[in-house]
Symmetry: C2
Subunit: 304 residues, 2 copies
C-alpha cells in the first residue's frame, strides 16, 4: 500500500426520486461517495464540511471504512441538501432543490498532517477553492479534479487556472463539450490536453468511459446491469475507485491508468444498484475483483 489519498468535496443529504423508488435525506455528497469507494483500495483523508444536523451514524460509517476524518469540519447551521429526480432516461438528473447551507461559506482547512498527500482529488467545488487547496499542500504525485457546468459557465478562467496544475480531469461528456467548446470529443480532448491536464477522463454514465492522453485513447463500456435504482454518486464513486486503485498500486503507466478506470467503473456499477451508498455498505474485495473479471469478459475480443 502506497501513501495517502486526500479528497476535498461535499457531504450532503440527498433526496432522490427515480422510476424505481425514492429516498429522503439520505447520505450523499461527492466526498462521501469518493472516499467510501476509494477506501476499498487505500487510505483516504477527507476534507469537507457538515452542519449540526449531521448524525453521528454517518460519521461512524465513514470511520468504519478507515477514512481519516481529521479534516471533517462541523459548523453551525445545516448540512448541504440536494433534491433531484430521474426519469427512465437515467443518465441525467433533474435538480429540484439545492440548499448549499454550510457549503456556501466553506473554506477548506487543511490539517497539518494532510499536507503531504501522495494523491489529491479536488471534488466539484469552486475552482478558486480547488486551486487554494492545491497550493497549500506539497505537490502530490497525482492531482485529479472534477467540475460542473456551473463553474465552466460562471468561472471559466479560474477553472482553467486550476486545470493548468492538474494531471487528470474527470468530467462527464456534457461538461467536456462545454469546456472544450466543441461537439466532437476528440477535438475537445485536444483542446483540454493542450491547456494543462495530461489525462482527460470522460464519464458517459450507462455508456461507459473514455480516457484521452497524448499517446492513447481508452474506451470501456459500462456493465449492463439487471437493476439500476439510483445513479446519484456514480461519477464520484467512479473517481474514488479510480484514484483509490491508482494510489494502492502507484502504477501511473498507461496500463495502470486503464486498470484503475475499470476499477472505477466496477465501483460505480455497484453504487447505482441501490439508493445512496447502500450497496457500498455491504461490499467486499472479492465481489469487486469478481466484477473486474466480469468487465474483462464483457469487453474481450481476440486479435486478427
Amino acid at each position: 500500500m502506497m501513501g495517502k489519498l486526500l479528497v476535498v468535496g461535499s457531504m450532503a443529504f440527498d433526496s432522490v426520486r427515480t422510476p424505481f423508488g425514492e429516498a429522503s435525506d439520505v447520505l450523499g455528497g461527492s466526498a462521501t461517495y469518493f472516499s467510501t469507494a476509494a477506501s476499498f483500495f487505500t487510505g483516504v483523508e477527507l476534507i469537507a464540511v457538515v452542519g449540526e444536523d449531521f448524525p453521528e451514524q454517518h460519521v461512524d460509517f465513514l470511520r468504519s471504512r478507515g477514512i481519516d476524518l481529521e479534516g471533517l469540519e462541523r459548523r453551525k447551521g445545516k448540512t448541504f441538501r440536494w433534491k433531484g429526480e430521474y426519469s427512465y432516461q437515467l443518465n441525467e438528473a433533474q435538480t429540484l432543490e439545492t440548499h448549499l447551507n454550510v457549503l456556501e461559506t466553506f473554506r477548506p482547512h487543511i490539517p497539518d498532517q494532510y499536507r503531504t498527500p501522495q494523491m489529491l482529488f479536488l471534488g466539484n467545488i469552486d475552482p478558486e477553492l480547488q486551486l487554494d487547496v492545491l497550493e497549500k499542500v506539497e505537490r502530490p504525485r497525482i492531482v485529479a479534479c472534477d467540475t460542473m457546468n456551473f463553474w465552466i459557465e460562471g468561472k471559466r478562467e479560474a477553472l482553467w487556472r486550476t486545470l493548468e496544475k492538474v494531471d487528470i480531469l474527470v468530467i462527464n461528456d456534457g461538461e467536456a463539450r462545454a469546456l472544450g467548446e466543441d461537439s466532437n470529443l476528440v477535438q475537445v480532448a485536444k483542446r483540454i490536453l493542450s491547456r494543462g491536464p495530461k489525462n482527460l477522463i470522460i464519464k458517459r454514465g450507462e455508456y461507459g468511459v473514455l480516457m484521452f492522453n497524448e499517446k492513447h485513447t481508452f474506451g470501456a463500456p459500462a456493465l449492463p446491469l439487471e437493476q439500476v435504482k439510483d445513479p446519484t454518486g456514480a461519477g464520484d464513486t467512479f473517481a474514488g475507485g479510480f484514484m483509490g486503485h491508482l494510489a494502492s498500486t502507484g502504477d501511473y503507466s498507461n496500463e495502470g491508468l486503464r486498470r484503475a478506470i475499470i476499477f472505477g467503473s466496477v465501483m460505480a456499477s455497484f453504487t447505482v444498484e441501490e439508493f445512496s451508498l447502500d450497496r457500498l455498505r455491504h461490499l467486499d474485495k472479492r465481489q469487486i475483483e469478481d466484477r473486474y473479471r466480469e468487465f474483462r469478459r464483457l469487453t474481450h475480443f481476440e486479435d486478427i
Copy 2:
C-alpha cells in the same frame, strides 16, 4: 471464403444536412450500405428495387464491389427518397421527408440462384415481407434482421412472428427498448431472447454496441473519431461488416461473433467520416485491418 450472403433491403436517394455539410440526392439505402460494407469480406447477393431515375453509375459502383445484382429490380416510377438532418447531437436523425415511391409496392422477388444462401440479412422492411423472403429460401445457416419503430408500433405481432425464426436481431437502443417494453436493456434482452432470436445486437451510435445471448454479454465502445460528417447508414454498414465477416469465416462461436461485431464497428467508423458511401469508395482491406487493431488498442486492459 464460405458461401453467399443474401441481403434484402432498400436502395435510396438521400438528402442529408449535418452541422458539417450537406449532400443532395446521393446514394443511400439499407441494402446499399449493407452490401457495400459486406463486399469487403464476402460475396453478396442483393434484393432491392429502384426506379427509372436510378443512374447506371450507382449500379456500376455496386458491381465494381463484386455484388451480385441479379435481384436488383428496376421498376417504373421513382426511387425511394429520404431527406433528413442531424444536429450536433449526431446520434439521431430528424426525418424531413420520406417518399417511398417504388418501395411502396415492393414485393421481393427471389431469383432461383439466390435460394440457398449461407446467410441472410433481412433489412428494415415490412416484417411480413421479411418473413415471406425467409420462407422462400432454404433455411440459411444464419438469419439476421433489422427493424424500426414504425414496424414495432404498427405491426408488432407480425414482427414477433418474423423474429421467432431469426437468429440475430440487430437494432438500436431506442428500438430495443420499444420492442422489449422496458427501459433496462438487460431486461429487454431477456424478453427478446425468450421469443426467438438467439442473439440481440444493440447499436448505440457513438456509444458503441452491445450483444446479448443466453451465455454472454459483449460490449464495445465506438472509436472516437476526429471527424464525423454524416452518420447516415452507419447501422446498415455495421450490419454489413458484421455479417460479411461472419460469412467469410463461418465461425459463429462467441469469439467469432465478437470479432465480427468489431469488424462491423470498423466499417461503420469509416462510413460516418464522409457523406453517403464516399468513404467506402476508397477503402482497402489493410485500412480495415489497421482499424480493427485500433479497436484492440482502444479497449485493451490487463487482467488483475
